[in-house]
Symmetry: C2
Subunit: 161 residues, 2 copies
């Protein structure tokens, strides 16, 4: 994937998320792009992101579903308004509910592909379904109910939005 | 909490989980104990486990529900057989499905209490409900469907069980 990811357009003060904030030097800093009507994030876990030997830790997989979904929601919200990411007002979503099904153990040591699809956009809510594949095999399916971040939460913390 | 946690009894080769393995030096190394009919884990996130300023990253919260639940499942399985943890054969559970509801933002910088309760034990499956509280307020509710790890997976990786 080339070009900027949706996370590259998040306002600075809400760009520190451990999962997807480009400014969190300890975090995963995932990058989500459009691929037609789907979104894609590639991520290769570290050796210590282990569950049992040979397999990826489920908490990381839940995190990938989570942050890929909030990124997808933001991207979809811009698209729904026919606006380019980075135009004002910015979109930033948080997760209200997350469901993850571990269909089979996810192998450690290979790149993971997380693909998302918008299930519903309604008002401030975007529902996203996601699948995580390793070597072309879907290992995890998830769904996240995301909501546009309350302006109040941004304002409280002095965000630029 | 004093005494050994359920994770201290996991067989060595399955004690490297990023969330709960006592031997993963990069991980969270959570410790789960009984408190009557409930289980409790205390965990204080690091400053970089941030979602948006002031609040804990949802992926970490999902991880805490996940690993607290597998620990609770193992503890409950021993109890159901009237056996002490550490007696053979050992119990080790993995997560088949995880659901997390983020009821309100979870404040960063304070200890979190994760409490678990067994919803169902049936065959190799244990369903656990969990709640995460900060300053006495429940911020997250979750449920995990856990299953006893297949002996095959342990055997494949040379585990001692």
């Amino acid at each position: 994937m080339s070009g900027k990811a949706i996370q590259d357009f998040y306002p600075t003060d809400v760009s520190y998320c451990y999962g997807c904030g480009r400014l969190n030097e300890h975090g995963h800093r995932i990058k989500t792009h459009w691929d037609g009507d789907e979104t894609v994030t590639m991520f290769t876990p570290q050796p210590f992101h282990i569950a049992i030997p040979g397999y990826v830790y489920g908490g990381l997989l839940a995190s990938l579903v989570d942050c890929h979904s909030t990124g997808t929601a933001a991207a979809a919200a811009y698209r729904a308004e026919n606006r380019e990411p980075g135009t004002d007002p910015p979109f930033r979503f948080v997760t209200a509910s997350l469901k993850v099904d571990y269909l089979k153990p996810t192998p450690l040591g290979v790149p993971l592909e997380i693909r998302g699809r918008v299930v519903e956009i309604k008002g401030r809510k975007v529902v996203v379904s996601a699948a995580i594949s390793a070597r072309g095999v879907v290992c995890v399916r998830g769904e996240a109910v995301t909501v546009q971040m309350p302006e109040q939460m941004l304002a409280e913390k002095g965000a630029t939005t």
